[in-house]
């Protein structure tokens, strides 16, 4: 039995009692009644409150720090200098000093007495202006350059020539060669990498050090492609830096239970992964760090680390004799330093035949991911046009450090690609839905295991039905009246394979069931999903089991990012529950006069499959365990084929645009989404609704607006960093792809994919309505009016 992997599967559709059903989230009652405790709500005995002195400069050297007045103030229990004399500040709002006091007002008073002198340095926050005349980086290739070239499937000859010319900036380790062999890279490519000269990186060869122009990427023959094209459309597109704007800001409560043991309540997406980070920052053993979190008020990709503030909260607690200190970021800091999705802009040319066949793509793109510059979004996105030439320039800025934001790089790549394709369709006079269907074969990934192109086609057809594409779509700009209506579409993808996860499941002789896992529920329904899987396997209702998560003393589970949680936690739980069930069957089989293999656990009883009347209630069955509970540890990865990766989705938007005021109104949006086997249907749908609403906000409202002169953020508050409200979102429809072709692939992550398409779909709907492209997001009224009146008044810039 033990080496038989086939037992680890998902139940067939007619056998599922809880999986895929619409079940209310288990922590709903706590949340709606205000009882759910977030990090921000935790009140530790003797807790002190921290306040932080932040840099007003975007780029500066710290010259001196004087904390003497603060240290003498009554009620001040600790002062810790985070960045002392000589430190270099790279963005406004960066943390310099933290004080801990008996209450918040006292801490704020003390922070105001701290004197920091700065030597301002030149800053740069303009990621919008297209980099001009930047020489291409010709220095040796970094590891990232190399993988980018491989990802882009650069032709072998060009690959080898580039390697010989530029060389490598690092020594090739045997592990890299093995990885390339495992990836089945061509032999000539691997040989060329082994033979490439290792060179010292040249001193910066660019005249403006803010720009780093990456090597041109070529696929197929773009020159021939554009020659062959009967129609070529050109456009410029882009979206600015936006922030995560978690409603619960980043922060933690740190306390020292003795001189080298830390206890941290922290708002995190990564309960099991933080101890190592603390250990490194504080120079204590990882085993001495206890991390706990019950609920989190939003993360969206920005809460994987302890961050600078996690470390200094622990440091200032130490200064205060180990007492608990709470530091939660203020709203302005949250928006300035704790969340930042890279911008992306591009000039694009698309070439097509008269029948709509897409044949050539050319793009020059740029964008910023903060001080490091950042990489190019995937382009052309999903639609793999055969002939391509593209070049990306990374812009290093003092806007603030980038963090992962739901589906990193995909929304930007999708916006630019789908906008360019829609513009091409408009130039052809073609329905973009027809153009997409015509080119649907280009959407199949190179290793297509489940016919992705068919999924996209099916999803587009369903979405078209739901939004009334046939009845409501009209050629671009042909709606009459001042308020014009338009429709737009986009398709998107994501990986989402389950992460490493361990689930400890115990069945006690009393019949109670306890599940422990070091995971976290970001509000996506992780608690509910784990219990659904365990309940479906053991024949129990959700309230018959106790689930413990949110603590690093439970078995380790991965961080919740990249849509990896559902695949990880559901497969580790399924394996644990199947193993525990098998042990229970072995214990009770003789009492039922049957073999263990003939038993099933259904509806709160253990019974004989062929004679269901021969049964034991769950409680009676467990009583036969005597004094020994059943303990099972389920792991992912593990035996059996429970999960996979790679999904497709389609989004369609219906908008009305007032051409006099420039206001865009959402009429309706539809998302048709695949995520393999749906575990918890109700919370899965909620996640898709939420992704669409976030998409509406990023398309119409959100922008981290920077002041070029001061280098600071102009809108670090929720009046001017606007989110979507309940009246802004229009009618929303979610359709999950389920059943044959989907269920057998097992659960695949859902957090990222539906966030990708909305920007592109809404942008295309606006272009369809008003007849011209609003090139840059957010699509604010002024940008709409300017796009309609390109030669208008003195403010006609975008």
């Amino acid at each position: 039995m033990a080496d038989d992997n086939s037992k680890y599967g998902w139940p067939a559709a007619d056998q599922r009692t809880l999986i895929g059903k619409r079940i209310s989230r288990v922590d709903g009652p706590e949340k709606v009644s205000g009882r759910a405790k977030y990090t921000y709500d935790v009140h530790r005995p003797g807790m002190l409150y921290g306040k932080v002195v932040r840099s007003p400069h975007a780029h500066a050297k710290v010259v001196s720090v004087d904390t003497s007045a603060a240290e003498k103030m009554p009620g001040i229990k600790g002062v810790y200098i985070i960045q002392d004399k000589g430190s270099e500040i790279h963005w406004a709002g960066d943390d310099v000093v933290v004080v801990a006091a008996v209450d918040e007002p006292t801490a704020a008073d003390a922070a105001r007495t701290i004197k920091v002198e700065y030597e301002p340095l030149p800053h740069f926050v303009d990621d919008f202006t297209q980099p001009q005349n930047v020489p291409e980086n010709t220095g040796p290739l970094t590891r990232r350059d190399l993988f980018q070239m491989l990802d882009d499937e650069m032709p072998e000859q060009q690959f080898v020539a580039t390697l010989q010319k530029r060389g490598l900036a690092f020594k090739v380790a045997p592990a890299l060669i093995k990885q390339l062999q495992d990836d089945e890279q061509p032999e000539n490519v691997i040989k060329a990498i082994q033979a490439a000269p290792v060179k010292e990186p040249e001193p910066n060869n660019s005249s403006n050090s803010s720009y780093k122009k990456e090597a041109e990427q070529v696929k197929g023959d773009p020159d021939a492609g554009f020659k062959e094209a009967e129609v070529v459309s050109e456009g410029i597109y882009g979206c600015p830096v936006i922030t995560h704007c978690c409603l619960e800001s980043h922060g933690s409560i740190a306390e020292w239970t003795d001189s080298d043991h830390l206890f941290s309540h922290i708002s995190t997406q990564n309960v099991s992964g933080l101890a190592g980070q603390y250990a490194q920052a504080l120079n204590i053993p990882e085993a001495n760090v206890h991390v706990h979190q019950d609920h989190i008020g939003g993360g969206f990709g920005s809460k994987f680390g302890i961050d600078r503030w996690g470390a200094y909260t622990a440091q200032v607690s130490k200064k205060a004799g180990g007492k608990p200190v709470r530091v939660m970021l203020e709203r302005d800091a949250e928006l300035e330093v704790a969340g930042c999705r890279p911008s992306a802009f591009a000039k694009v040319k698309v070439g097509a035949k008269k029948d709509g066949t897409l044949i050539a793509w050319q793009s020059e793109s740029w964008g910023t991911g903060g001080p490091g510059g950042g990489g190019a979004p995937p382009m052309p996105y999903v639609v793999n046009i055969p002939n391509q030439r593209k070049q990306h320039t990374a812009v290093a800025t003092n806007i603030g450090p980038a963090r992962a934001w739901r589906a990193p790089n995909h929304p930007q790549g999708c916006l630019i690609t789908m906008s360019a394709i829609e513009d091409c369709a408009a130039k052809l006079g073609m329905d973009p839905m027809q153009l997409m269907l015509k080119n649907i074969a280009l959407t199949a990934p190179s290793e297509d295991t489940y016919h992705r192109a068919d999924t996209y086609r099916d999803e587009l057809m369903i979405a078209a039905d739901l939004i009334g594409w046939k009845q409501n779509w009209h050629p671009r700009g042909q709606d009459s009246g001042t308020v014009k209506r338009g429709l737009g579409l986009a398709i998107h993808t994501w990986g989402g394979r389950g992460h490493e996860s361990n689930c400890a499941l115990t069945i006690y002789p009393t019949g109670s069931v306890e599940i422990q896992m070091g995971t976290q529920d970001l509000g996506v329904g992780t608690r509910t999903a784990i219990l659904i899987v365990a309940g479906d396997t053991l024949g129990l209702q959700l309230n018959q089991m106790e689930l413990k998560i949110g603590d690093n003393q439970y078995p380790k589970s991965g961080g919740s990012g990249g849509s990896t949680t559902i695949g990880g936690v559901s497969s580790s739980t399924r394996r644990a529950a199947i193993d525990a069930r098998e042990q229970l069957f072995a214990k009770v089989a003789s009492a039922l006069n049957a073999k263990p293999d003939d038993l099933e656990a259904v509806g709160g009883s253990i019974r004989v499959k062929s004679a269901p009347s021969r049964s034991l209630s769950w409680k009676d069955a467990c009583a036969r365990l005597g004094t020994q509970p059943i303990q099972a540890l389920g792991k992912n990865p593990g035996p059996g084929d429970l999960i996979s990766s790679g999904v497709g989705g389609a989004v369609m938007a219906d908008v009305s645009v007032d051409t006099e005021t420039g206001v865009v109104k959402m009429n309706k949006m539809v998302c048709v989404q695949d995520c393999g086997l749906v575990i918890s249907l109700k919370t899965a749908e909620s996640q898709v609704y939420g992704a669409m609403i976030m998409g509406i906000a990023t398309t119409l409202y959100e922008e981290k607006i920077m002041d070029n002169n001061l280098g600071t953020m102009l809108n670090p508050n929720m009046d001017f960093y606007r989110l979507a409200g309940i009246g802004d979102v229009g009618e929303l429809v979610v359709h999950m792809m389920t059943g044959k072709g989907y269920d057998e692939r097992g659960p695949i992550g859902l957090g990222e994919p539906p966030t990708v398409g909305p920007m592109a779909a809404i942008g295309n709907a606006v272009a369809n309505a008003i007849g011209v492209r609003v090139p840059f997001l957010p699509i604010t009224p002024d940008r709409v009016v300017n796009a309609l009146n390109p030669k208008g008044g003195s403010n006609a810039t975008v």
Binding site: G28, K31, S33, G34, L247, F300, D719, A724, G727
Partner: protein, 147 residues
């Protein structure tokens, strides 16, 4: 919530901070801290207020109802039950504010139209995007309350 509570506070302390730090009523949250997002909504003499923008001294002898006072697990208010049934929360950080704002709204508009909901609850923000569930929840709560 029907109890008389006393505290000695500095004049600058807000009603929100007093509720949270003195009385352990942590349902109401501080998010924008300037009367924009509605996460701190409580009822003051049956009227919805942003408790981040009310000083504690101005709330002396007023009747304050927080989300905790509307119901508790096992004895939930119909609005809270409707939020669960329609999955009108994800991370749940904005939820207490929305639940209390919905109470005040339905007191004023017992049979709301979708248009009234748009305006009546436009003073609260959710980041996870739970408005689809909320619209359904508010309509359900209006019905169950009338029944």
């Amino acid at each position: 919530n029907g109890k008389k509570l006393n505290a000695q506070l500095e004049p600058r302390v807000t009603l929100l901070d007093a509720l949270r730090d003195q009385f352990e009523l942590t349902g109401a949250k501080r998010v924008c801290d300037r009367g924009t997002c509605g996460a701190c909504t409580v009822l003051m003499d049956n009227k919805a207020v942003y408790s981040c923008s009310v000083l504690a001294i101005d709330a002396q002898s007023a009747q304050i109802t927080t989300v905790e006072g509307l119901g508790e697990p096992g004895h939930l208010h119909p609005i809270q039950q409707a939020f669960i049934d329609n999955d009108a929360q994800q991370c749940g950080f904005c939820t207490p504010g929305f639940v209390v704002a919905t109470k005040a709204f339905l007191d004023q508009h017992p049979n709301p139209t979708p248009e009234q909901i748009k305006h009546g609850l436009g003073g609260n923000f959710c980041r996870c995007g739970t408005y689809a569930g909320m619209r359904a929840a508010i309509l359900q709560a209006a019905k169950t309350k009338g029944a």
